[in-house]
Subunit: 156 residues, 2 copies
Amino acid sequence: MSNRECMTISPFMAFALEEARAAGARGEVPVGAVIVDAATGEVLARAGNEVEARRDPTAHAEMLVIRAAARARAEKRLPGCDLYVTLEPCPMCAQAIAFARISRLYFGAGDPKGGGVVHGPRIFSQPTCHHRPEIYDGIGEAEAAALLKEFFARRR
Amino acid sequence: MSNRECMTISPFMAFALEEARAAGARGEVPVGAVIVDAATGEVLARAGNEVEARRDPTAHAEMLVIRAAARARAEKRLPGCDLYVTLEPCPMCAQAIAFARISRLYFGAGDPKGGGVVHGPRIFSQPTCHHRPEIYDGIGEAEAAALLKEFFARRR
């Protein structure tokens, strides 16, 4: 692999961006997420936001992939799994990531207004938080942020 | 109604305690929740924890009743609804309560180790939190706490 190829975003974040675009096309806030078995590279679940379609305030992309991956594994925890999401998780999703024992969290754009990882309550830095994944941010940030900006510009 | 009767816990918290007991009997952490339409007194949803049964780290009682009530109303938000839960909600559930626009939150026992309302990240006090329900705590506290204490004593 050339250096140039090494610098492209991971294929898993590319899947998450695909899910975000598809969510936006359905009228959802364009956020997408993917869960991968880190040992095998197997994609266990991928989803975009479904808050509107399901009329479910908890149906964020991260919650959907955590629930689907846990179902796929028949385990309530997902150690050894990595979660890729196009936007900084909110406090609800961050806490669910901690409960699920996700190993690594990769996210695209930061979310100063609603994020719960590097903004707001910084869930993983709370003394009461029992699990902190490794965190890698800014992956695919430009595209994730552009999708959101365009979506909210259209809604105004 | 006599003063004595006024001092008994609300029937809705009694339902939540029933759900907590049933959850404990199934081997779940004994927490129960109920959502009520405050205008009519109609119970829209009631549930206990189902984390073990569903192998779903997000299947806390509060999440289940929020999702079920939203489904029942075909609305992603639940203004005018009250949520009764036997234990202080964790940060995940507190954020879901904010997203759902729950009007009033009644909870039993406080949870210094895992709570997210009056402990830990105090979700509703975060400047980034867009909705804060009215909060009433300590309702049915003794029974809720006793259930949890007994459950964890048995597991040791």
